[in-house]
Every structure is written in C-alpha cells, then in structure tokens.
C-alpha cells in the first residue's frame, strides 16, 4: 500500500508498580497464613473443596500475574496451559499409575516446554497482537483435545476420571482436608518462589522489559530470552495449577478448558491487581464466588454481573485489590495517629 511507515511510541501494556507494593508485609502474611491453615478445621467438606479451588485457581492467576505484571506480556490463552497440565496429571495417574504428587513436576516441565515454545512466535508480538494469538490458542484448545488422534489417551469428549488420593501414612484426616493442605503447601511454596523470582536479577530484567523494551535491550538485557522465559515459567505454574485442579475435581474433559476459563483467569488478575502477587487469591475468590452469587439472583446472569463488576473495577479501582489494600492501610495508619 502506502510507503509511509507508521511510527508508534509504544505505550506500556501495564502501568508500572512500585516495587515495595508487590507483596504483603510480614505481619499481614502471617495472619493470612494462619487463616488459611486453620480455616478447614471449622467448615464443611464442600467448603473445604471450594477453598482448595480458591488455592489452585489462585495459583493460575499468580502465574498470569508473573507474565503480565512481571514482563508486561499478556495472555488470554492460559486455559490452554492449564489444560495441558491437567491432562498430563490425569494421564500419568490413570495410565501410568503414578503417584499424584509426582505428576505435578512433570506437568510443570511439559507446560514449561509448551510455554517456552509458544513464547517464541509470541516474541514478535506485542499488545493486541499477543492478546489475539493467545485468544486463538485458548479457543482452539478444546477442539484439539477432542481430536480422534489423541482419543486413546485423552478419552475424547468424555474425558478422564481421576481417582481421589487418600492421606498418606494413615494420617487421620479426610481426603478433602488432606488435598487442601497438600494444595496449600504447594501454593505457598510457589508463591514464595515467585516473590523471590521477581526480586531476583531475572525478575528485574522482566520488569525492565515491561517498562520499556527498547531501553531494556539497550542496557544489555537479552529481551528474547527473558520474554520466552517469562512465558515458560508462567505456563509451568499454570500447569501445576491445572494438575492440582484435575486431582481436586477428579475429572478432566475438553469443555472444562474453554476460553471462559482463560477469561476468568485474566479477570482474576485484573481484579486482584496486576503485578501484586497476593491479589491473585483475591482475584481467584472473585472468579469462584461471584458467578455463584450471580446465579442465585438469576440463572444465566453471571456473565452480565461479571462484566458489570469488571467495569466498576476498571473505572473505580483500576489497580484492583492492591489499591483497596493500600487505601485500607492508609486509613489504619490514620486511626493509629
């Protein structure tokens, strides 16, 4: 067409976050941790299951948060990596008779490989293009899982049933509670590792790329490597979340991993606050409980309630739960004085 070239001074996808605000303080962390440890002792099994769900979906939101809040790339295709993780765990448990705990690192490795490979073409994309490519990935995933070619392993449309693990060493707690604590330990481990990752040299490289890619590369950061690495790490954590999800739900089927899941994770991140890791759990709570409440008001309304709430969030508190937390902190500070 025209010989004119479009010159764009690219705006960052994400507003920069002050580093201090990335985690909770020590005191708050301990209170949250205590609440998470004690909670299942007082509630019914169904709520324990929902808490487990809160943790592993929180993990998936955290993974997206590392990708977006950390390196400034975003993905509407996390459901694809989640599905790969879930299927890896399910297949290894059901066909290879492997211990459920051992399937998680394998799911992480496989997802890391997929994420890293997907990161390669994604390198050339930014902003809307990346959103588009990952959106397409998420839409295609259920179709790929239904293929006759894989049916022997994936169970096709019917999916696979996964056996629920018992507590080991004859510990006197029920399956649900055991699974909750198992998930909690993994979640905390990954959370601490993620915080450290973002504070490390690599994490600073991620953030430099997020804030200004060209300046980062001028400083000698290998942009291509760190961008694909961010994709890989994010996919690996999503894969673990998927594996945990498969074990907790005891079932995997192509239709559980549609674009809806990817969108939920994305919304969870926005609601929790981009780049604020503790927000992942808040976001996860939002995507688990809001649809339930909305459905109880009217059937089929959850999409609308979701959307309206999301607009409220991006208009009133564009930094999500992090902003609320900061405001709350300031108000507490005023009360003390």
């Amino acid at each position: 067409m025209s010989a004119a070239e479009e010159v764009v001074a690219e705006a960052p996808a994400v507003e920069a976050v002050p580093k201090r605000a990335m985690t909770l303080g020590l005191g708050t962390s301990l209170v949250v941790l205590a609440a998470l440890v004690l909670a299942p002792l007082f509630v019914k099994n169904f709520i324990v299951f929902q808490l487990t769900q809160l943790l592993y979906l929180g993990l998936a939101v955290l993974a997206l948060n590392i990708l977006t809040g950390g390196s400034g790339q975003f993905s509407l295709g996390q459901s694809a990596f989640y599905a790969i993780g879930a299927y890896t765990s399910a297949i290894l448990m059901e066909y290879a008779g492997m211990n459920y705990a051992l399937t998680l690192p394998i799911a992480a490795l496989i997802c890391f490989a997929f994420g890293f490979l997907f990161g390669q073409p994604a390198l050339r994309l930014s902003g809307v293009y990346l959103a588009l490519a990952t959106f397409a990935l998420a839409t295609a995933m259920p179709q790929l899982l239904k293929l006759g070619f894989f049916e022997h392993w994936t169970g096709g449309v019917q999916g696979l049933v996964v056996t629920k693990p018992d507590a080991p060493f004859g510990l006197p707690i029920g399956q649900d509670k055991w699974l909750y604590y198992f998930t909690l330990v993994i979640t905390i481990g990954i959370y601490v590792a993620s915080v450290n990752l973002l504070r490390s040299r690599s994490g600073r490289a991620f953030m430099a790329i997020r804030d200004n890619e060209i300046a980062a590369s001028a400083m000698g950061i290998n942009v291509a490597l760190y961008k694909t690495l961010a994709f890989g790490v994010s996919a690996a954590i999503t894969g673990v979340a998927g594996g945990l999800g498969a074990i907790a739900v005891q079932f995997v089927a192509p239709d559980s991993f549609t674009i809806v899941l990817a969108i939920q994770l994305f919304l969870g991140m926005v609601v929790g606050g981009v780049g604020w890791l503790p927000g992942s759990i808040v976001g996860s709570a939002f995507i688990i409980f809001v649809p339930n409440i909305a459905e109880s008001i009217s059937k089929g309304l959850s999409g609308a309630v979701f959307g309206v709430l999301l607009f409220i969030v991006i208009f009133l508190v564009p930094h999500g739960a992090r902003q609320v937390a900061i405001v709350a902190q300031q108000m507490l500070g005023k009360l003390k004085n």
Binding site: A13, A131, L301, S302, A304, F306, V308
Partner: protein, 292 residues
C-alpha cells in the same frame, strides 16, 4: 474439479462474512488502536434485534435497515459511555473492558432470547443460483451485499468530507485536531459504523449458523484471522484477508486429510500465528516502527 470450484465458491461466500467482520474489527482498530473482542457479540445482539423486529411483523428489509440504525446508535452509545473514559488507560485495562462487554452482551442475549437455536430467514431463498449447482442464492446474496457494502464504504471514505475527516483522525489524531476535526466524535462514528457493519455480517451469516447467543465466536475468530492476514491497518487488506481465509478454510477442510469440520478453528489459529510471525504487518498493512 467440480468439488474444487464448489468449495472455492462456498469459501468466497463465507469469506464475504469474514470480510465484513474483519472490516468492523479494522474500523475500531484504526480509530482507537485496540481489537474489539466484543465485536462478534455486538453483531450477534444486532442480529437478535432484527429477528425480534421480524417477529413483530416488520418485513425483512425494513427490519434490516432499522437494525442498522439501532446498531449504529448502539455502537456510539457504547463508545461514549464505556470506552471514551478508557482512552488513556493501558492496553490491559482496555482488553478487560472489551471482555467485560463481551460477557454482558452474551449474558443479556441469553436472558432475553434464551439459548435455544432459532431459524433465521433469508430473503434470497436457498435454491441453486441461476440454475447452477455450484452456489445457492443465499450465498450469492451474501457476496452481493458484501460487495455493495464495500463500494459504499469506498465512496464514503474517498469522496465525502466526513469520510476524509475520519481517515485523518485515524492516521494523525494530533494534526487532525489542529485543522479543526473533532477527533473524539470521529472515533464514536467509527464505532457506530463498525457496529452496523458487524450487524450486516451477523444478519447474513445467521441463516447458515442459526441464531443463538454463541453463534459469532467462530466467525469473530475468522474475522480476526482475516484482519491480521490483510493487515490491521488496511481496510482493503481486511476484505482481501476475509475472502482468502474463507477459501483457505474450505479447501483445508476438504483436501487436507484429518482436518474436517472440527479442526477448522485451529486452522484459523495457525493462520493468525503464521502470519504474525512472518509478516507482522499483514499482507497490505503498513509496517510499524517503534520509537523510544
């Protein structure tokens, strides 16, 4: 050979719809530099409106025109209410906004008209076109309407003051503002037109895919693929891309073993990614140069 011609013609017919969808996507992309993920849902909602109008006894073409007007107004209202305040926000916030809009429209369509599949009438009939077995009258009608739309848009952008102003506002907003163009309203106008073009796509494809709230997801994805293939900065490219994607989809479904119907969507994915990797600007788009 007859199978081949048949598939190419059917590809051109569905390609016409993808071209409309891609055109709508490009209209908004040109105006605000964002992809509208809710474009398909907006088109679906418009189609439902036209269906409702026909249920109330309004004849097809009147319902068609009325729907275009309503969609145009609806697009402008959405822009004014929701996306104008977000103009300066980061990309991420905008993407979240589009997804929220997607959820709201989809949910409301389900609430008002429920999720059962509805028949949608065609004004062209479905008999073979001019006695040939290759293409049905509805497919010919789809191509015809799209071509008319393209000519109208070309004339609008090339020969009217307001079309010129819209192009100026999209190309160089700052300079356009300096010469007295109200760029903010040009963006709203772009939204309105995109919404109306989407409505045309929805109304034309509805007899083929049937009317239900999720009918546009696949079409939107192909529309995206078409827009990317042709170049997001080029309306002409979007149209060319639309036809190419339509033909490609049909031929791949017919000739590549194991593809069939279920793999058609992953093909759109593969196409999007391949084009983005080798030619990020698309076939007819302008290359983008970054400046620090």
């Amino acid at each position: 050979m007859e199978l081949f011609t048949n598939q190419v013609l059917a590809g051109i017919a569905t390609g016409a719809i993808y071209a409309c969808m891609a055109l709508a996507v490009v209209m908004i992309y040109q105006a605000i530099d964002h992809l509208n993920f809710a474009q398909g849902e907006m088109a679906m909602f418009s189609t439902f409106i036209s269906w409702q109008l026909m249920q109330w006894g309004i004849p097809y073409w009147w319902a068609f025109l009325l729907t275009l007007v309503i969609s145009f107004a609806g697009g402008i209202i959405i822009e004014r209410l929701l996306f104008k305040p977000l103009a300066k926000a980061p990309i991420l916030t905008n993407v979240a906004g589009f997804i929220a809009l997607y959820g709201i429209i989809n949910s409301f369509a389900g609430l008002i008209w429920d999720f059962t599949i509805k028949q949608y009438p065609t004004p062209f009939g479905s008999s073979p076109f001019l006695g040939s077995q290759l293409i049905s009258t509805h497919q010919a009608g789809m191509i015809g309407v799209t071509v008319l739309l393209l000519i109208a848009l070309y004339l609008f952008f090339q020969f009217t003051r307001i079309g010129l102003a819209m192009r100026a506002a999209a190309a160089l907003p700052e300079s356009a503002r300096l010469v007295g163009i109200n760029t903010s309203w040009m963006i709203a106008l772009g939204w309105g037109m995109a919404s109306a073009i989407g409505a045309i796509a929805g109304i034309l494809i509805a007899p083929v895919v049937f009317l239900e709230p999720n009918m546009m997801l696949g079409v939107l994805l192909y529309g995206f693929a078409a827009a990317v293939l042709g170049g997001l900065t080029s309306p002409l490219g979007a149209v060319v891309g639309g036809f190419l994607v339509g033909i490609f989809e049909n031929l791949a479904g017919t000739y590549i073993p194991g593809v069939g119907n279920e793999l058609k969507l992953p093909i759109a994915l593969a196409l999007i990614i391949t084009v983005l990797v080798f030619k990020p600007a698309g076939l007819l788009g302008r290359p983008i140069v970054k400046r620090v």
